[in-house]
Symmetry: C2
Subunit: 310 residues, 2 copies
């Protein structure tokens, strides 16, 4: 089951983080942009080719020390068909390096529409993307999750359902209180119920949850409520979540969560912390150093809390 394979990757690399491959033009070194945007094939193709070069160098620099990557599709879709080509090629390249690929797509629809999305992201067709797990939006209810689960079971894939997101206004809907429970707790119940039949050897289900690192107490509560669900945890680093916050998303077995960082890793060479030691030609090395620092930060905190997986 894919969730067991994710955990294998985590244990092998001794790393609980996932790198968000969220390319933006301002992160791309000047020399790449000059070469790629100067081509005559159109602007979108030039951007897509820039992103692909950037991503491949990042993957080459990171694949032996991280278990997974998470491309956020919006940054690709923005540039249309060429962008989506870059997305699929990025996914394929990451998978060829042994990485688990989490497509952050937040799709949510019903019936044949959900089947269409699922066929692309969780399918086994020649035209399907090389994503292993994707994120799903639950606002439309069970109908909008079930079609994805069917494909997961068939094609060895998985999903993370949005439960409690890391952004400030997640409280607008997710924190409303209904029948003595917050909406995100109702969604958590749904996730538990839908995931129960799909638990792997590791004890975790391929129906996981997105739980932000920015609301620590909510995360602690959800951790107790959803023992068998793996958490995909946004909000660490740039969004203000600390290792201590993220650690709340882990079980006592030292597993149960994979913590995302995007800009803090892929654009590390531009940060005040790294920019004196790395020039833009060394963006991938800076990313590697930032990824090691993040790995150690989380591992140290987990050790302190005696949540130890190895």
């Amino acid at each position: 089951m894919i969730i067991d394979k994710l955990i294998e990757n985590v244990v092998r690399s001794k790393n609980h983080s996932v790198i968000g491959l969220d390319p933006r033009l301002e992160y791309i070194p000047q020399y790449i942009k000059e070469e790629e945007l100067g081509s005559t094939d159109g602007y979108a193709k030039g951007v897509a080719n820039s992103f692909l070069r950037f991503n491949k160098e990042l993957i080459d620099s990171l694949y032996d020390i991280v278990p997974a990557v998470k491309p956020q599709i919006a940054f690709y879709e923005q540039y249309g068909p060429e962008g989506l080509r870059c997305f699929t090629e990025t996914c394929s390249y990451a998978r060829s390096k042994g990485l688990i690929v989490i497509g952050d797509v937040k799709r949510g629809d019903i019936g044949s529409t959900a089947e269409g999305y699922s066929d692309f992201f969780l399918g086994a067709k020649e035209y399907s993307a090389a994503t292993d797990l994707i994120t799903i939006n639950p606002y439309l209810g069970t109908d909008s999750i079930a079609p994805f689960i069917k494909d997961c079971a068939q094609n060895n894939k998985g999903i993370f359902v949005l439960v409690k997101t890391s952004n400030k206004s997640s409280i607008d809907i997710q924190d409303l209180m209904a029948d003595g429970k917050k909406i995100y707790e109702h969604v958590a119940d749904l996730v538990v119920e839908l995931g129960r039949a799909h638990v792997g050897n590791s004890g975790y289900s391929f129906v996981g949850a997105v739980v932000g690192a920015t609301f620590k107490q909510d995360a602690e509560k959800l951790r107790r409520q959803m023992k068998q669900s793996y958490f995909l945890v946004p909000g660490y680093g740039a969004q203000g979540g600390t290792a201590q916050d993220a650690a709340a998303c882990f079980n006592k077995d030292g597993l149960g969560a994979i913590v995302n960082s995007s800009r803090g890793i892929i654009a590390a060479y531009q940060s005040s912390e790294f920019k004196d030691r790395f020039n833009e030609g060394q963006f991938a090395e800076a990313a590697r150093e930032a990824a090691i620092k993040m790995r150690d930060d989380i591992n140290q905190e987990l050790q302190k809390q005696r949540k130890i997986a190895w």
Copy 2:
């Protein structure tokens, strides 16, 4: 404002419906599939080319009698970059014929991610899709709607926020009761609040709402709650909603809603009602007849209820 232009199109065509351009291989006539899938450029490209031919013939047959089309992106994204190319070309072609293009994309994300989606669907860049309005998922709260509204104001675009969807399990989350109101009513409040500053000459806002035709009483309640929001109404026809149900989504001025039908129109030639009179080569004519029937069905019901716009 785009919402005024949508209404102009509605009034000119005396038609409150929007045609869902949701192509699936089983709807495509055999002779098109044989020609396009036989090409040597790969399966996905063959499918995309089939869809594009199908869509263009439908648009040619419908553009003078309907105000808008609504391509659901899942059916295109399913086939990767080639599918997305078909989506963008379909949108451009529909717009070139004077149709309003509603991208049913149900995107929902925050910050720079939302900006990426918005730049593609509601942007004015050379690489932006020719969509005039899109659907938005509100589960992440205000943060996930605001970036889209900014682009709408700048580029004369609009959105429909999912409020109460037409599927059976929409009750799972949307009908939970919090502080004396259902979740979808809380979302409706958000939509009203966010849309207030963006009302056009018609009296309607470019921040609209998705309200299903399958829950008539909910629709009546929402209609009262959201007087200035245009409703995009799924669920008519194939999903079981009647003209009477859909009419609940209209205001007394005979406006306020645009009713979608997809399969019932674009695959009409396969339906028991039309298949004796139309062969597959006449799929576009069958679609036209089905569209006229739907137009008249809704208009008659509105007249009966004295909700008359012309």
